[in-house]
C-alpha cells in the first residue's frame, strides 16, 4: 500500500523516519523516501514504470515543513534550507562568492525545474553530474543533518560518498546546507560543458572560489570539478599551488598532474580521456574568467 506522509513540523518528520528505520526493512521500495521538489523522484519513477518495475511507494513529503524553507543569513553562515529552490538562490541578494552557485542555479534544467527543484535535493540525489555540488564544494559548504538524536554537521565532501551514495542515515534528514561567510575579496565562477545549450546533463563542470589579498595575490582558492568522478572533487594540489599567485598567472599553473584525483568514465556523453582534458581546460578558463571583472557578474 502506498504511503504519503506530509508533516508540517520537522519533529514529526523525524519521528516518522525513526519509526521507519526501526520497523521497516532497508530496501529501496519499502523505506520512507524524503521528497521535496520531486524533480528527481518523478523522472526516476517514470523510467521504472516504463519497464513495469516497481517504484518506492512510501514518501515523506517535506514541502509543508515551514522551518526548512528559505535562504537565511545567520551569524557566520548562510543557511540554505532543505526546501530552498534554485530560483530562491537566484532571487536572494548574495555576496559575489555565491556567483558560481547562482550561475549553476540558472543551468539546472529549465526554469520549471529551477522553480521546484531544491539545492539540498541535488546533493542528496548525489549524481556525479549534479551541478549544485561543485559550487557548494568551492564554497566549503557543510551539510546539516537532523535526527531525533540531534543535529550533526558534515563537510559536503564527506557527505557525498560516491555515485548516488551519501552519508545520510535512514533516520536522518538533511535540514540545510550551511555556507560559512566568505572573505570580503572572495569571488567565484561556475562553468558547465554540455552538448547543447539548455536542459543538458554536464559532461564536465568546474566551480572556483578565489580570495585575493590587498596586493592581488591569491589568499585562498577552492576549485571543484563535477561529472569527472563518482562524486565531484576538490583539486587540493592545485588549490595549494595557487596560493600567492596572481589571478593573471593562475591559468598557467594548471597541468594534468593537478587533476590526477579525477577518475572520469566513458559514457554516452563523452569519453574519459576527453573529460579529463576538458576539465583542465575548464579550470584554466574558470581562473581566467575570474581575472576578468565582467565575467564575475552572476
Amino acid at each position: 500500500m502506498a504511503t504519503w506522509l506530509r508533516p508540517t513540523t520537522l519533529e514529526d518528520a523525524l519521528k516518522a523516519l525513526a519509526a521507519d528505520a526501526a520497523n521497516r526493512p532497508d530496501n529501496a521500495l519499502d523505506r520512507l523516501v524524503p521528497l521535496a521538489g520531486g524533480t528527481d523522484y518523478f523522472p526516476a519513477v517514470k523510467t521504472r514504470q516504463a519497464w513495469f518495475q516497481p517504484s518506492p511507494r512510501r514518501i515523506l513529503d517535506l514541502s509543508a515543513i515551514g522551518d526548512l524553507a528559505g535562504v537565511v543569513q545567520e551569524p557566520g553562515v548562510l543557511r540554505i534550507g532543505a526546501l530552498a529552490t534554485w530560483t530562491a538562490i537566484l532571487d536572494a541578494p548574495l555576496h559575489p562568492a555565491f556567483d558560481g552557485l547562482k550561475q549553476a542555479s540558472r543551468q539546472v534544467g529549465g526554469v520549471q525545474i529551477q522553480n521546484r527543484g531544491t539545492v539540498v535535493g541535488n546533493i542528496c540525489n548525489a549524481s556525479p553530474a549534479a551541478d549544485g555540488v561543485p559550487p557548494l564544494l568551492a564554497l566549503d559548504a557543510q551539510v546539516e543533518l537532523a535526527s531525533l538524536a540531534g543535529r550533526r554537521r558534515l563537510p559536503l565532501s564527506q557527505f557525498i560518498l560516491g555515485n548516488r551514495r551519501t552519508a545520510l542515515q535512514r533516520d536522518e534528514l538533511v535540514t540545510a546546507v550551511l555556507v560559512p561567510d566568505p572573505l570580503e575579496s572572495e569571488h567565484s565562477i561556475f562553468l558547465k560543458l554540455g552538448a547543447r545549450a539548455y536542459l543538458v546533463i554536464s559532461i564536465a563542470s568546474v566551480a572556483a572560489n578565489i580570495a585575493l589579498d590587498a596586493k592581488g595575490r591569491i589568499l585562498g582558492a577552492r576549485i571543484a570539478v563535477g561529472a569527472c568522478s563518482a562524486a565531484p572533487q576538490r583539486l587540493a594540489l592545485l588549490e595549494q599551488r595557487l596560493l600567492g599567485e596572481t589571478l593573471e598567472a593562475a591559468p598557467r599553473t594548471v597541468d594534468a598532474s593537478m587533476l590526477a584525483a579525477l577518475d572520469p568514465i566513458d559514457d554516452v556523453r563523452a569519453t574519459a580521456v576527453y573529460r579529463r582534458d576538458a576539465a583542465a581546460t575548464l579550470v584554466r578558463r574558470a581562473l581566467a574568467g575570474l581575472a576578468m571583472p565582467q565575467e564575475r557578474a552572476a
Binding site: R6, T8, V111
Partner: protein, 947 residues
Amino acid sequence: MTLHHRPDTVEITLTVNGNDHLLTIPPATRLSEVLRDHLGLTGTKVGCDAGDCGACTVSLAGQQVCACLVPAAQADGGQIITVEGLAASQAGQLLQASFAKHGAVQCGICTPGMLMAASDLLARNTAPSRADIMDALGGVLCRCTGYEKIVDAVAAALSPTPSGEDVMQSMTDEGGSLISGVLPHPTACGGHLLPREKEGAIGQRIPKLDGASRIDGSALFGADAAPADALWLRAIRSPHARAQFAFGDLAAWTKATPGITRVFTARDVPGHNSFGVYPDLKDQPVLADGHVRYRGEAILAILGERKAVDAICIDDLPIDWQIEPAAIGIAAGLKADPPLHAFKPDNVLTRGLVECGDVLAAFPTAAFTAEGHYETGFVEHAYIEPEAGYAIRRGDTVQVFACTQAPMMDRDEVARVLGLPVGDVVILASACGGGFGGKLDVSVQPLIALAAWHCPGTPVRCVYNRIESMASTTKRHPSEVFARASCDADGSLLSFEMDADFNTGAYASWWPTVANRVPVHATGPYKVPHVRNRTRAIYTNETPAGAFRGFGIPQAAIAQESLYDTLAEKVGIDRLEFRLINALRVGDRTPTGQVLQASAGLAECLERLKPGWRAMLADAAAFNRSTGHLSRGVGIACMWYGIGNTSMSNPSTMRLTLDASGAITFWNGAVDIGQGSTTVLGQIAADALGAPVHLIRSVVGDTDKTFDAGKTSASRQTFVSGKAAELAGKALRAEILRRTNAGPEASIAFGDSVLKVEDNGRKTALDLGSLPLLADGTVLEGIGTFDPPTTPLDAQGQGVPYATYGFAAQAVSLDVDRDLGTVKVRKIIAAHDVGRSINPMLVEGQIHGGIAQGLGLALMEEFIPGRTENLHDYLIPTFGDMPEIEIILVEAHEPLGPSGAKGIGEPALIPTAPAIFSAIRHAVGVVPRKAPLLPHRLWELMRGSEA
C-alpha cells in the same frame, strides 16, 4: 502529525483558471494527470513525464512548473493557470494572437507549454530581449519550428509596434525571406509578400487555418480524446535485443490481479500477426510469437483499469526468457547466424542501384579524385507527442482514433491484422503532434484494434510513454558509406561511386523506399556523367529503422558533399563556385537518365547565396586573425529532393463542395502533421474556386469521408494534393459558371445560399437551395485528382523516378572551440527553390525546423537502444542551439505544380548537416566522418590531426 486516515488518497482543493475544485485523489498523482484526466483540461500536454520537454508547463502559484513533476499533494490550495485559462487575461490573448500571426505554431503539441512559459516571462518582464525569451522558454522543447518564430512571437506579443512593422523589423534584424524578384514592401498588408497574379490567398502569409485550436488547447491529439469508460492497454516489451520466450499461466495471473480485464498474445490476433509498409515485406509481428528481435518489441498486451495496468510488476508476470546473442551493428548483422528472418538467409534485406556511364573506366581518366568512409547513427524523430489513440468495435466494424501520417495505410494494416475487409475499419486521424516520418508506420493502432475486437462495445485506449515510444518505434537508418568522386582539371564532375550500407534494425519498415531514394540522389544535385550508387540494408537486433525526413538522403549527402569539398580544394576553386559549375539545370540529364524539363533552381540558389557567402568568408578570415581558442569556419552544401513517391503512382484526390446554405467544405484527406498542409491546400483550393480562404471549412483525414490523399511524406502534399486541390477548386468553379452561363473570368460572391455571379457586367445568381441534394447532403461538388507522372526504374536504375525536384543550397558560419571540441553555429543562409511559395510564413517554418533537425543530426543526436531512450540522454536542439537564419526563397516555376509549387518538408533538413561539417573542416582542417560530431569526437579528430 498530519497523517491521513486513508493513506492512499488525500483531499485537495485547486483553483484552476479561476474555478475551484475539490478532489479526492492519490497524493502522488502528477498534477498533469489531475488536470487532464480528473478535470478534463487536456490542453496541458504530456511529452515525457520527466521534466525533459516542458510540454506540460503550467503556472502554479505564479511560477512556471512542469505539471508532470508536481504531486497532487503539493498542489493543494494552489492557484493554477493552464492554456485553457490564458485568454482570461489581455496579455494572454495578445500572446496567443502573436503566436498565430508569427507562425510560431506548427504541430501544436509544444504550444501550450511554450505559451505558459512565455506568459510567466511576460508577467515579470513586458519587454524581454531575445536572450531573456530563450532563457525563460529554454525548458520547453519544440521539434517542428526551430524556435525562431516562437521567439519572434513572444518578443512582439506585448510590443506596441504597429501591426506589420514587426515583421519588417524581424526581416531586417534576423533575416526574413525575400522572394525571388520581389522586393519587400514596407506597406504590404500582413507581411512583405506582394500578390503577383491577382488578389488571392496564394503567396500570402496566412496564419494557419487550424491554428486557433492549437493555441487555446482545444485541439485533440492522440491522447486527448477517449470515452470516459475506456479501458487502458499497455504492451509488455522485451528488455532483451534477442531472446526466446514462453509464457506460464497467464490466465491465473489475470485472475489473481485485480483490475485486469484480459491479456493478449500472438495467439489472439484474428487475422495476420504481421505488418509492414510493403505488401511483400510484412515482417513485423503485432505481438512477438516466442521470439523477439529487438529491445522494445511487444510480446503481450494487457487490458484493464488504468491503475491496474500501471501497477503491473514485470517480475510477477509468468514469462520465461532465454537470452540469445544479439547482432548489434551492421558488421554483426552481416555475420548473424541464424539470420534474423528465415526468408533472408544472409540478413541483407534488399539492395538498390543507379548506374550510368562507365564509372570504372572514368575514374582513372580524372584529374582529381577524392574518397572516404562516413558513418551516422540511429536518429530518433522525437516528436513531442508520444503515440496514442483509442479504438472501439461496433458490430463488425472497428473505429480507430490515433495520431498518424497515413490514415489509409493504417486502415489497410488494421484490417489485415483483424482479418476484416478494409471497409470495416475506419481511421480517424487525431491532431498529430509531430511526425517527421515516424508516424507513417503503425504503432498503437493494431494493438488497440486487436483488443477492441475482442471486447465489443468497450473503448480501448493506449498512450505510449516517452521511453516506450523511443524504444519501440522506428528511427533514421544508421549508415556506413564509402564513396569516391572525381572531376576534371577545371572542376567539372566526372564520376561518382557510392556503396552505402544501412542498418534496418529488426524489421523492414520503409527500407525499400530508402534503398531507391539514396542511389537516385546520392550524387547530389549535380551533373555527373559516370555514376554507380549501390545501397543495401542489413537486418540487426536493433530498433527498426524506417522513414525519417529525407529517407536516407541526409546520410548520403554528408559523404557526397564532403567529397566535393575535397575536389574543390584540389582543383583550387571556391566551394560555391565548384557547385555552381556542376549544378543541374533545365535540360540536364540526371544519373537516372531523366532530362529535367523545368524548375531546376539550384544555380539561382547559389547565385543568390554568393553575397552572403563572400561576406561570411571575409568575416571568418578577419575573426581568425585574432588569437583565442575559437576558430571560425564557413561551409556550404546543396541538395535535391524528388517530390512524391519514387517511380510509383501516388495520387491524391481532393473534393470541394457547396451545401444549400452556401457553406464551402473542403474534404481533404491529407493529414496535417503540423507543417501546414491544411492551410496551404485551403489557400490553393480557395484561389482555384475564386473564394476567400476564410470561407472554407476543412474536413481533414477521415478515411470514411475524405478521398485518399496518400501519405503525408515525401514532401508531396503541396505538390500532389495541392494540384488535386487546385483541380477540385477549378472543377467546382466550372460547375457554377456552367450553371450560370458565365465565362471563365466571372467573379463569384460566396457566403450565402444564393451565389452571385458577375461576368463582364452581366449579373446572375445561383440559388443553392433549389438544387437537388447529393448523397452526402451537399449540392455542388468539384473533385480533382493528380498523380505525378513517373516511370519505373529499370535494373540499372534508369527512368523518371519523380515528376519534379526541390533544390537548395545552405551556407553556414560557425565557431569551433579548439580546446573543447564544441561547435556554436552562428548563422545559416538557406536558399531554397520551392517552385512557388504558397505561404511564405509556413515555408520559412519548414526551413527553420528542418535546419534544427539537421543541426541535431550533425552535432548531438544519437539514439542508442537501452542507453538514450529518453529526452535527457537523447539530445535534440533547444532554443539556445539555433543560429540566426536568413532565408532566400527561389521560385523556379514547376508547370505541373499548383501555381508552380513544389515541396519543402524534407529539402529543408538535407543540406544542413553537410554544410555544418563543411564549415567545421574550414575552421579547423579536419574532415568529420561520423555523425553526430559530439564534442569528444571533434576533439579526438583535432588531436589526431596534431599527432
